[in-house]
Amino acid sequence: MARTPLRRRYIAGVASVAAILLLATGCSSSLNTAAPAASGSAAKPCGTVNVAMNDWTGYTADAAVFSYVAEKKLGCTVKQSSINEQVAWQGFANGTVDVIIENWGHDDLAKTYIADQKVAVDAGPTGNVGQIGWYLPPWLAAAHPELLDWNNLNKYASQFATSESGAQGQLLDGDPSFVTNDAALVANLKLNFKVIYSGSETALIQAFRTAEKNKTWLIGYFYEPQWFISEVALKKVKLPAYTAGCDTDAAKVACDYPDYTLNKVMSAKLDKSGSPAAALVKKFNWTNDDQNLVAKYIATDKMSPEAAAQKWVDANATKVDAWLK
């Protein structure tokens, strides 16, 4: 058969590649094994910590600082994996995630994984307070301070109109990961507005940035801590005050969003391991301004998360030392 030599040649080729690779990799010792395991010293064994990386920059800031401290001060090996919140919680159950360093509420997930399955534990607040609400670009808040009260929104509804909202004012909602009652809120407060879904945080931020730069009218759903606040200081609009239970029936909501005490969640496995990383997770605590600053380093100054973390840690030695005690 004419093709036999061809086939034989393939086999020979594959075999020789394999042989050479084996030879090259087997006979020379790799730099990997020659090099010391990790720089920095570790008194206590730390091991590997899997940190879920949720996709907003504030989270990145928290995780970068936590990872930096864990690696440099405790000698841990930190593995970061980018996933969305729901998926991250699933990770507690199967051991692929050890730490969620900033958690916004998620009572349903907490119930499943902390209360029912008992694979995760609440590791206490991060010190950040999450505020969800309606925000204006600073120029608009300065030019029309009355807009900071929701009662005056209807008067200016037409100013907020866009091609997407038609005759009504546009209320720009954003990140689909955030629960929003805005449609109900608009209806129940009898506002002449229409909720438009920008679809992503990126789109939302870009919209606010453009509005501030071009001095155009915009009102939208936003939240802090968020790095963008440190670039453009958005102003929150006052909605009817939140009272406990006023948001129980989503369809009848007519009040502001509650403040979220952001907390950390870690796997029960890590909690029980006695690793110094577990202690660090529990003690990690800082302010909204701290987070916004690191997030700004990353987002606006385009620093790498590691560099941003290092810069902040170097400047805030006392805070960091407190975490390590």
Binding site: L6, R9, G13, S16, V17, I20, L21, L23, A24, T25, S30, L31, N32, T33, A35, A37, D55, T57, S81, S82, I83, N84, E85, Q86, V87, A88, Q90, G91, A93, N94, V97, D108, T112, S163, E164, G166, L172, P176, S177, V179, T180, N181, A183, I196, Y197, S198, G199, S200, E201, T202, A203, L204, Q206, T210, N214, W227, A250, A299, T300, K302
Partner: protein, 681 residues
């Protein structure tokens, strides 16, 4: 099939061609009824559903999801099946990762260092392809280092390789089976359609649930998306083996096995290699998207850069993806050509020379690997040589300047277009009673595609109503159709020029390739700056993604209009414009219809991306379902609705393509099945 073909050949043809086809009247009447109904019943019977609202079906899907989540780790079957798949796939991925990306120990360098990697892939490119693609490969892989994304690029490469390996292992046998067995083919085709059109956002989260986050589930998600092309094209290749050759083999008394091994497979090989090429490209696209479930690699860089609106960094990563796509495409294409030619032109002398050259190359690879394991600069790409950061910063400046200059002009463009075109058309679709809209769509389906297409359309529309997303589906349909019309206008203009001039073709093609392979996320930020979050932005993104395919198909159609027909026109003194409009475009009609078909499908595959930039409707529902537990069911339903819209539009236009082909005899088969496939986001 031989039977029906035979019959058709003998069946008398009904006379066609009247001065004005009846269909035109039918459509005109339907459109009139539509318009009147819109005016009269504005807003009645429109089946609306608010963004945060869900139907019982959606809630039931949520419960299914929750049940799976709760039982994932306790149900023996789940654990057995999913874990063994995950471990198997994960092991292969880990092997490649260790070789190309990083080991778990020490400095976490790849086993064979960056120099070893470059040397090895270059050698492989030379061995399977030729020296030209080998040089391209060396330059491309070195470029990853220069761009400062070597590790990420190698993750992408390793995962793509793993996914392709499994796709081939699964796809080849299935494709062969579908090729020799009509019934299997009939069953597989709709399943493959579904796998390719279902937005990946819909199944990424459930996949992560079943297979855990990380490389393994990224690879599994990728396989789902990448396996259809190789199945389709293997089956297609086997089915298109000339009957005369197969019959001649039969007359010699081949057994079924011999027939497959000695006749069908060798003759189907070209088509199979095209399938492999498309599988590789699809895998690359999907590995990028799998960043959303912690698939490591370039996709992660893009996604992270977007969080901070860092266009430059996203662009650098996106550019690396384009480079990898081009390298993989050219190498697989060269490999297929080589396989074809080598049997022909190889003489013992040439063969020996080649073996010696490759053997020498292998020694160089070994030396590079050895070097990589002993010198740090050869193991880890030296950071000083990387220009990615600087390049990113420059691009950020350019992007910002661009936005500053044009945003005022673009805002008014967006407003004008939205108010004059999008809003009225969307109103027509959403504010008319749904029965009227259905009726109009059916009339169009019957006229353009025939009864079969109409029946399928009806089923699709009824299912869309059943999943509770009629209004959203109509909004999406409106944007899709508008984007397709613009895409086609653009494709006609550019495609005709490209088809008529080789030089223009050569200049434009790399740009088109790049537009097709660059992840859409990368250019969304500048667009958001220019147009804000809006349906218009979503439409523009879809056009950018869909136009290259349509342009390529039309250019090919125009280029392959028989030279004789063009000469005949010129000999009668036709002007260039007359030649184009009266000869080339009519003769390329089936290509143009095919381009419309592909354009539609590609536009539709961008619906989810559109949802990320203000497109709303189905795209937003899918994105929200990916992010919020409570909306999971609705997201899944929206994904299915996108598939249904896709099937409906595809079947109508496919039927139109088939009809066109019967009217205008094309001398050359248009590459219907071999046309590149869309990337669903």
């Amino acid at each position: 099939m031989a039977v029906t073909d035979f019959r058709r050949q003998f069946a008398p043809r009904p006379p066609r061609q009247r001065s004005i086809p009846r269909g035109v009247y039918a459509i005109a009447v339907a459109l009139l009824v539509w318009f009147v109904a819109w005016r009269m019943f504005n807003g009645v019977w429109t089946l609306p559903l608010q963004s945060a609202e869900v139907t019982p079906l959606h809630l039931w899907l949520n419960e299914v999801n929750a049940w799976v989540r709760d039982n994932r780790d306790s149900n023996v079957l789940f654990v057995l099946v999913f874990d063994s798949i995950r471990i198997g796939v994960g092991a292969v991925a880990a092997l490649f990762a260790q070789l190309f990306v990083q080991t778990d120990v020490g400095l976490q360098l790849p086993e064979i260092g960056w120099l070893g990697v470059v040397a090895l892939v270059t050698w492989v490119a030379a061995a399977v392809g030729n020296y030209r693609v080998a040089i391209l490969t060396a330059v491309g892989f070195t470029a990853f280092g220069v761009l400062g994304v070597f590790t990420e690029a190698m993750w992408t490469f390793a995962l793509t390789l793993t996914a392709v390996l499994f796709s081939v292992a699964i796809g080849l046998p299935l494709g062969i089976w579908a090729g020799v067995n009509k019934r299997v083919n009939g069953i597989l085709t709709p399943i493959l359609d579904f796998m390719q059109t279902l937005p990946s956002f819909v199944y990424l989260a459930p996949l992560a649930l079943l297979f855990l986050i990380g490389p393994a589930s990224a690879v599994i998600a990728t396989i789902i998306y990448a396996v259809p092309p190789i199945i389709r094209l293997t089956a297609h290749g086997i089915r298109s083996v000339p009957a005369t050759i197969a019959e001649a083999a039969d007359s010699l008394g081949v057994s079924k096995r011999q027939r497959l091994m000695t006749v069908l497979l060798p003759l189907a090989r070209n088509s199979m290699v095209v399938g492999l090429n498309q599988t590789v490209m699809a895998a690359l696209a999907m590995v990028t998207i799998a960043a959303l479930i912690a698939g490591p690699g370039l996709g992660q860089l893009v996604v992270q850069a977007l969080q901070s609106l860092n266009v430059g960094r996203a662009f650098v990563a996106g550019f690396a993806i384009v480079v990898m796509a081009i390298v993989l495409d050219r190498v697989t294409t060269a490999a297929s050509r080589r396989a074809e030619l080598s049997a022909r032109h190889s003489t013992p002398l040439r063969r020996r020379r080649r073996i010696i050259a490759l053997g020498a190359g292998l020694l160089v690879v070994a030396a590079a690997v050895y070097l990589s394991r002993s010198v740090l600069a050869a193991a880890r790409f030296p950071a000083e040589a990387a220009v990615g950061e600087a390049l990113g910063a420059r691009i950020n400046d350019v992007s910002a300047g661009f936005q500053n200059t044009f945003s005022v002009f673009t805002a008014s463009l967006k407003d004008g277009f939205t108010i004059r075109v999008i809003n009225p058309f969307q109103g027509l679709l959403t504010a008319t009673p749904f029965l009227v809209v259905m009726l109009v769509i059916l009339v169009i389906a019957v006229t353009v595609g025939g009864i079969r297409a109409a029946v399928i359309s009806t089923i699709c529309l009824l299912l869309i109503i059943a999943v509770g997303l009629w209004e959203d589906a109509m909004i999406t349909l409106a944007s899709t159709l508008i984007a397709t019309v613009i895409t086609m206008a653009l494709a006609l203009a550019v495609g005709v020029i490209m088809g008529r001039s080789d030089r223009v073709d050569r200049w434009l093609r790399p740009g088109l390739d790049a537009a097709q392979t660059m992840p859409a996320f990368v250019y969304l930020v500048p667009f958001l700056g220019l147009f804000g979050p809006s349906r218009f932005t979503a439409i523009v993104a879809a056009i950018i993604y869909a136009a290259p395919v349509a342009i390529k198909i039309i250019a090919e159609g125009i280029a392959h209009v028989s030279a004789e027909a063009v000469e005949a026109a010129q000999s009668t003194g036709a002007s260039p414009w007359q030649t184009i409009s009266k000869v080339q475009i009519p003769l390329a009609a089936s290509s143009i219809t095919l381009a419309a078909n592909q354009g539609l499908i590609y536009v539709l595959s961008m619906v989810v991306v559109g949802g990320l930039v203000g497109g709303g409707a189905l795209g937003y529902a899918v994105v929200a379902g990916f992010s919020q537990n409570a909306l999971f069911g609705k997201g899944l339903a929206a994904g299915v609705a996108i598939v249904l819209l896709g099937i409906m539009l595809d079947r109508i236009t496919q039927a139109a393509v088939a009809r066109r082909r019967r009217i205008v005899p094309v001398t050359r088969r248009v590459r219907d099945v071999t046309a590149p496939l869309p990337v669903t986001h």
